[in-house]
């Protein structure tokens, strides 16, 4: 059963349509990457799921609970980390977490150990007695994540958690999210950093102009969206012979040559690639490598969407 179930979600801001009949299902324990250009409707979807925004039409359920009808129940199982958030002046990290712990009605006896746990998980134990407002951007992000984890939510909605972070902080954030996934949490994450989402997410959804263009496993979407495959060939010797073979081979649509390196556009099957390899060897071509270029999430994104970032 899908833990997040969105059905025909629509949101209008006056005449502007932010979401149009969006339907989506996310399975329990998945890391779901929600990608799309600015203004595509990612944050609107996340805010509706987190009960902070009223949809114009449609319905969404988290763990079978309606976000429209039972927002209080939703808050118990949901952790939300906004894109843009502030911190309270004059509060130390432990006090900050204690306040949110109390606000989530966690008993005092349990609260201290829970705070220790989330501090350890987010690698902020040494910062517990420091003022949150004096933290760097990366540490503030981690503090907010710690706050989001304080009531042990089943589902986490993270809106651009890695934005504005330096490369090291991004890697740390990625590792942290992987750990959370291993703990069984379902994570919906929106991000612009597609390469990182590609590594991290089990499934993705691509949204543009409020409409879901594609969703599913990254590899499945790639297969669907790619009309031709790209093959790279690097030879040590016999480049001319190789070119002759390639020109005569079936299924090769385009050839670009740069010295001993070739870039091929083809619609060959895997067997076809193997046959091509055999033909090249037979003609005495010394091959350094021949492989299919898998492409990246950026390529998929650009193929699926019409606009860009």
């Amino acid at each position: 059963m899908a833990i997040i179930d969105i059905k025909n979600l629509t949101k209008h801001y006056g005449k502007f349509t932010a979401l149009s009949n969006l339907s989506l299902e996310i399975e329990e324990g998945e890391i779901f990457g929600f990608i799309g250009p600015n203004g595509a409707g990612k944050t609107t979807t996340i805010r509706i799921l987190s009960t902070l925004l009223e949809p114009t039409a449609g319905e969404a359920f988290i763990d079978g609970i309606s976000v429209r009808k039972k927002p209080y129940e939703i808050k118990k199982i949901l952790g939300y980390m906004p894109d843009d958030f502030g911190v309270y002046d004059g509060m130390r990290l432990r006090e900050y977490l204690d306040f949110f712990g109390a606000a989530y009605k966690i008993p005092t006896k349990k609260r201290a150990s829970i705070i220790d746990d989330v501090l350890q998980l987010t690698d902020l134990t040494t910062k517990a007695d420091e003022f949150v407002s004096a933290f760097s951007r990366g540490m503030k992000q981690r503090s907010c994540l710690a706050k989001t984890l304080i009531h042990d939510p089943k589902v986490m909605l993270l809106d651009e958690p890695a934005s504005g972070l330096d490369p090291r902080a991004r890697i740390e954030m990625k590792e942290l999210l992987k750990t959370l996934s291993e703990m069984g949490k379902t994570i919906l994450i929106s991000s612009h950093i597609l390469s990182e989402l590609g590594d991290m997410c089990d499934t993705i959804g691509i949204i543009e102009h409020g409409e879901l263009l594609a969703s599913g496993k990254v590899s499945d979407i790639m297969e669907k969206v790619r009309e031709v495959q790209e093959i790279r060939l690097d030879v040590l010797d016999g480049a001319d012979a190789a070119e002759t073979v390639l020109n005569s081979a079936n299924g090769i649509l385009d050839i670009e040559r740069d010295g001993n390196q070739f870039r091929l556009q083809s619609n060959l099957s895997r067997d076809g690639i193997a046959d091509l390899h055999t033909a090249l060897v037979r003609e005495g071509v010394k091959i350094v490598f021949l492989h299919e270029d898998q492409g990246s999430l950026e390529d998929v994104f650009l193929s699926v969407t019409k606009g860009g970032f």
Partner: protein, 572 residues
């Protein structure tokens, strides 16, 4: 020159003109500007409508009516400017800082003086345009006889000088403070000091002289100082309301405001040219060692509420919002609160000392309590009007809404914290009556009513501030709204009741009783041995009045909770 698109050669020569264009035009397009304009025009239309001679017999008094009309219209514009200009101008620089555009401004080719002048013209221009928009209503007085154009010129000079001085005070505060709430509050304090500062100083000075038997009364000194410095005195001269004095004090008064304006602008320029240092980041760790904490408590500066003492976890069953606001909101501002206590205590103490010299009647005690009540009523809304707007401004509201706290927890938590923030002023009031008791003032009943009234007014003011905070997302606007609502709630009761009896042409013996029931400020004057020749305190009347005011306060808190539940928990 067209306002919207200034000639490019002018913009190139004067880059600050681009700022004026952008800000003034966007300000005039805002809903806030339309609301202020509506408020101004409604105010003036109401004055003309209520004073316009309706009966044939009234035409015999047309001259008097036209003068009266001009006087009230001028007063309305004067009060409107005093109410709106400080808050509007105080947000000028602070908003740039809060939106992180201040550095862009400083990095542009606009000079510091250009920035200051552009901001000044934005603040001033807005209100001048509004006054021009009201001119047709004001000039309706010309249809009646008795007013000549010189009155309008003099009133114009007074209002313009007030707008410039209030705007420059607001700008100076805006350049000093980093948070809009402090800038706005300081701006209002500056405006009050401009209006009455020299008078207050002269009062203290005259009182000291009287103490040494060097003067017989304070009134002559106060009147003289007011005549030469107070913008209000200049207005009464301009509209010729029973003042036949020379033009000398009028000009002196205008010059005094000019000096204040120039001084404040120079201060603003200095702060823009060389901004104040950013606040230090505290890196001190909390102290767990009991011995060290004890040493800090008994040694200078005697930490009664040690900011470094480790705070305990929020206990089960306690309202986390209230605890947060008090522990990290108020206690973190403990130094400010202690200063507020000291200043309030000194002011109340001196005033109490003066009262004690003439403690035989109720009247002096009434004035002492009235002063405290007015100060409280001015301070309380400003302290709590940012209660929700700051959550918006800090970006914490989403996280707060996602917790399991219910709207009533948030609202009542904030209300309780707001009341706690007024404790220093209330404590100063209680403690400052001790010297009066020692000096032999034994009017315990009057004191009981006075403190009770102070309490009721404090609760009412906090409710108003809380309610205002629900109506907007900007602290500056919230403070402004809270003062407007305060003005309506505290003053409209008597005005409406008196106007009603005036209209129906009846003289009702107890009309004042009805009016004060809705006005906690005037209740002190009438209940404590005041009007109608009563010798004793009318407890029944006071209880009814307090009950009504408390009910209004409760209603405001409940409405605030409803607004939060209906409109703030979920965006639409």
């Amino acid at each position: 020159m067209r306002l919207g698109v200034a000639p490019s050669f002018l913009v190139v020569r004067m880059p600050s003109l681009a700022m004026v264009q952008r800000e003034l035009l966007s300000s005039l397009r805002s809903v806030k500007a339309i609301l202020i304009l509506m408020a101004f025009i409604l105010m003036t239309v109401f004055v003309v409508w209520s004073l316009w001679p309706a009966e044939y017999n009234d035409l015999n008094m047309a001259g008097y009516r036209s003068k009266e009309m001009v006087a009230y219209l001028s007063l309305a514009v004067f009060c409107g400017c005093a109410l709106f200009v400080p808050a509007y101008s105080a947000s000028a620089m602070v908003l740039e800082r809060e939106r992180s555009t201040y550095d862009f401004l400083r990095m542009s080719l606009i000079s510091s003086a250009g920035v200051v002048m552009a901001k000044l013209f934005n603040a001033v221009g807005m209100f001048i345009i509004m006054i021009v928009a009201m001119t047709p209503v004001i000039c309706s007085a010309f249809f009646l006889i008795g007013v000549d154009y010189t009155v309008f010129i003099k009133v114009g000079v007074v209002v313009l000088s007030l707008i410039f001085s209030c705007a420059s005070i607001g700008l100076a505060c805006s350049s000093i403070f980093r948070k809009s709430i402090f800038a706005v509050v300081a701006s209002y304090i500056g405006m009050i000091l401009l209006m009455a500062g020299p008078v207050m100083l002269s009062f203290v000075f005259a009182t000291v002289l009287m103490g040494f038997q060097l003067a017989r009364s304070t009134s002559s000194v106060i009147e003289a100082v007011a005549e030469y410095t107070s913008p209000f005195a200049a207005l009464t001269y301009a509209v010729d309301m029973g003042r036949t004095g020379s033009i000398g004090p009028f000009i002196t008064c205008i010059l005094f405001q000019l000096v204040v304006t120039v001084g404040c602008l120079l201060l603003t320029w200095r702060n823009v040219y060389k901004p104040p240092k950013p606040p230090k980041i505290t890196l001190e760790k909390p102290i767990d060692d009991v011995k060290v904490l004890r040493e800090r408590k008994v040694g200078f500066p005697f930490y009664i509420l040690d900011p470094l003492k480790r705070k305990k976890a929020i206990a089960d069953g306690r309202n986390p919002m209230m605890v947060r606001e008090i522990r990290w909101g108020l206690y973190n501002r403990a130094t400010t609160l202690v200063r507020v206590f000291y200043v309030s205590f000194v002011v109340y103490f001196i005033a109490g000392g003066v009262v004690s010299m003439d403690a035989s009647t109720f009247s002096t005690l009434r004035e002492w309590f009235a002063m405290q009540t007015v100060l409280t009523v001015l301070a309380a809304p400003a302290l709590i009007a940012n209660t929700l707007t700051k959550e918006y401004e800090l970006g914490n509201l989403d996280m707060l809404r996602m917790t399991l706290l219910k709207p009533k927890d948030i609202i009542f938590g904030k209300f309780a914290a707001g009341f706690a923030s007024m404790i220093p002023m209330l404590a100063a009031s209680f403690l400052s009556c001790l010297p009066m008791l020692l000096l032999g003032v034994k009017n315990y009943e009057a004191m009981l009513i006075g403190f009770g009234n102070l309490f009721v007014c404090t609760v009412m003011s906090i409710s108003i501030g809380l309610f205002a905070s629900m109506l907007t997302r900007q602290t500056t606007t919230a403070i402004l709204i809270s003062y407007v609502i305060g003005l309506i709630l505290f003053c409209s009761g008597p005005l409406i009741v008196e106007y009603y009896y005036y209209e129906i042409g009846q003289v009702y013996r107890y009309e004042q009783i009805e009016s004060i029931l809705f006005s906690p400020i005037t209740v002190m004057f009438e209940v404590v041995g005041g009007g109608f020749g009563r010798a004793n305190i009318d407890y029944g009347l006071w209880f009814v009045s307090s009950g009504i005011v408390s009910a209004i306060s409760l209603a405001l808190v409940l409405i605030s909770t409803h607004i939060f539940l209906r409109y703030k928990m979920q965006d639409r």
